[in-house]
Symmetry: C2
Subunit: 455 residues, 2 copies
């Protein structure tokens, strides 16, 4: 055992940042506009009004650098925030690396992940707008349970379309949403036109996030304004809400009297990566630093490393606005290996844009390496990470090994987005030798590109 087992950096509630950070005004080049799915013209706030309350739409397009966190949201945040930053000394020892490894731990929230950072904010702005019901989708279930909890806090009914394979493989995330009072459907359903059309093509289909989004969007869009829609990643306002993670971490790294050379996060829709990275990207731009940013994604869903940067729909049916992003094609259906997160066909436009600008790199990792990383982390640090977070840990280990080889004493920071207490079936499969590595075939991506909408 090392002399010092680990170190935790905590902030007092009063030190919790009072504003979210909006990276838009600091981008070296502007974001490509979001286009209307019908007219293919840039959308304005009014086009989004059927889906979102105006408070969130204004954040989506805001050019203000800082947006104050409303007091009720701050108060709920303090249930689990500021979250701890750890120096992973036992992991460093296990990896025999000269690197200093830090992790920000978001699994301390009641649902065990970073998702409530935006769910609570979204529920608040909906409540302010008098909204009584929200429809949403969920993949692995972290987002759905966060939105269900936030709905319970603000007295808003929540209806969740949960990707069918997750609904089957992760029944306890479903139970969690129901415990908070939400209604949960296995998507595709017969409840929506989108669901029925997808079932008509493939009655036994296990669903995808794209499909579930189509269903949830349809429910809101066809409600005549009584139901709004909520999304757990991808959009600018969602990434904005997650920046509290990076803002806290900046203060905590200062406590540690250290600063990261590399910032790592797993990336599915991109909000976890963005939440930690954006404040550090601001510092890099403002202070002329050389900090590296690395997004870790599965080889089974390699939107940043293998996808194209192009306009695409956010959903399968083509109901959402068109966003310029890294995409595997909106028809993408992930292989049903295990019902993990990080299985979205696209990537947040802001994260895609930063990747395109060369400010953010990406790596993809195979799932056996992902789970091996999770097991070694658990035995060193105690926390059993969510499979999503294990992607980040796999990349951390690669860099720690590089440091070992070169003798470099680099400072590595990553976002441990959540715990794996709902994912033990996947750990079981790994420990039983049942997980197979899989890389999404290049031919399939080429084929999917043919379906990209013309703009």
């Amino acid at each position: 055992m090392p002399d010092k087992l680990h170190t935790k950096y905590v902030l007092d509630e009063r030190e919790m940042p009072r504003a979210w950070y909006n990276i838009i005004p600091d981008l070296p080049h502007p974001l490509a506009p979001v286009l209307h799915p019908g007219t293919r013209q840039p959308v304005g706030p009014d086009d989004l009004a059927p889906l979102f309350p105006m408070g969130l739409i204004l954040q989506e397009v805001s050019t203000e650098r800082y947006i104050e966190i409303p007091e009720p949201v701050r108060q709920i945040y303090t249930q689990w925030r500021p979250s701890p930053l750890y120096r992973a000394r036992q992991l460093e020892q296990a990896l025999d690396t000269p690197a200093r490894i830090y992790y920000k731990y978001e699994g301390v929230s009641p649902v065990g992940s970073h998702k409530p950072n935006t769910a609570v904010a979204q529920a608040y702005y909906n409540q302010q707008a008098g909204v009584k019901k929200i429809s949403t989708e969920t993949g692995a279930g972290q987002w759905g349970s966060s939105m269900a909890m936030a709905g319970a806090f603000f007295g808003i009914e929540v209806e969740v379309f949960m990707v069918k394979i997750s609904y089957q493989q992760k029944p306890f995330r479903r139970s969690m949403m129901q415990a908070y009072g939400a209604t949960v459907h296995a998507s595709p359903t017969n409840l929506t036109q989108a669901g029925r059309s997808i079932l008509a093509q493939d009655p036994d289909g296990l669903g995808s996030l794209g499909t579930a989004i189509s269903e949830a969007v349809e429910v809101a869009a066809s409600s005549g304004g009584t139901i709004k829609y909520a999304l757990g990643s991808v959009l600018n306002h969602v990434l904005l809400h997650q920046t509290i993670v990076g803002e806290e971490t900046l203060l905590q790294m200062a406590q540690a009297d250290d600063y990261p050379d590399v910032v790592i996060g797993c990336a599915g829709g991109g909000s976890n990566m963005a939440g930690l990275a954006f404040p550090f990207i601001r510092e890099r731009l403002n202070r002329g630093l050389n900090t590296r940013f690395l997004a870790a994604e599965p080889t089974a869903c390699p939107s940043l490393t293998k996808g194209v940067y192009a306009y695409d729909f956010g959903d399968t049916v083509g109901m959402t606005p068109l966003m310029k992003m890294h995409t595997l094609g909106h028809d993408f259906v992930p292989p049903g290996i295990h019902a993990g997160g990080l299985r979205y066909h696209g990537m947040a436009p802001m994260v895609s844009h930063l990747h395109q600008l060369g400010l953010l790199e990406a790596r993809s990792v195979m799932q056996t390496e992902v789970f091996e990383s999770g097991i070694s982390f658990s035995r060193s640090e105690g926390i059993i990470p969510a499979p999503e977070s294990n992607h980040a840990i796999a990349v951390v280990r690669q860099l720690a090994e590089d440091c070992k080889q070169s003798g470099d004493e680099k400072t590595i920071l990553f976002n441990l987005s959540g715990h794996g207490h709902f994912d033990m079936a996947s750990y079981d499969n790994y420990l039983d030798g049942k997980l197979e590595d899989f890389a999404y075939p290049e031919e399939k991506i080429k084929e999917a590109m043919k379906t990209l909408p013309k703009v």
Copy 2:
């Protein structure tokens, strides 16, 4: 929504108490001696040496009021400690009560419960004694996973006998132990004489904590000294390690400028109740306060409310020393309603003694009330509690209702011993209306009393 949603009281790492509190020297009457199962004479440290390292045996019989927490244990504690104390303002609002409700939250540990407080300490003292392997048992799995994690930290192999019904109903607690590197068996097994004899009587038996203890004790006792045994509750040294919970809470209640009128905890073996209560019992005795202490237990396993106070074995087969405690008889097999915790036939001798002295009251609650309490807590406070903790919440709600009726502004404090992320199947059963209330029949208890050992 109330104006103030909740308040969290946190301690800095440097404020974490440096000693555990041993209540033995403060007891108004001494504890009844522990007896040797063969001779029925009081046991001495040497009698316990085959099972435990001397560091823990000395704590078991210590009359020192404070025992310093060793530095490596302190360092590991700081991974999740000091744990937060919350004022449950949203719950108060939901219950419409004038009572002020506080809860200490132990679910922030990597395994999600209070059990690592003692697992880490036990692993440390075993490592100091050069022990390479520990055998133990687990019921609901919180203890087994804590011991597995602590073993991983200190390089000690861990073998766990898990009650068969839990092994079947809670496979993910089993996976968690395996993720930490432990070996897990469904008890009763064919690996031990105890297991074989129990299987011979009932080949389809689903096991009990008493049986699993017999197996784990046998493995250690017959190892010729190479394997030690560890227990997750009941014993004096285990309760001692949990007092860090109450010591922290005393400091946090002072921060809140408040003091509890009632202290509530759920009780199975008694360590969770003791951990929070003992430091407050010390204050009551020293300062002449009137603080009430209330243990909450299931009607399905009512050792304090229905059991007798008598000498009994800690296990089914009769291998352990005899302890004077509240017991339902060592043959007790809990009804297989759901594989929750709080299913032990006995109760910690110290908790039993305090109950006998009138310092600690007990109430039993039916399981539908237990889960109803958990659901209402989740929707108010966000955290989905472990079913064990829901017993405490049920009693809190009863007292909060009393306050509502009488207008009394009582201060109620309880121990939220863990989260329920591994217990969603039980929540499912509750939400689906499948949980049935059950009170352990009085005739069965009377019958069990006939098997109590003569002393």
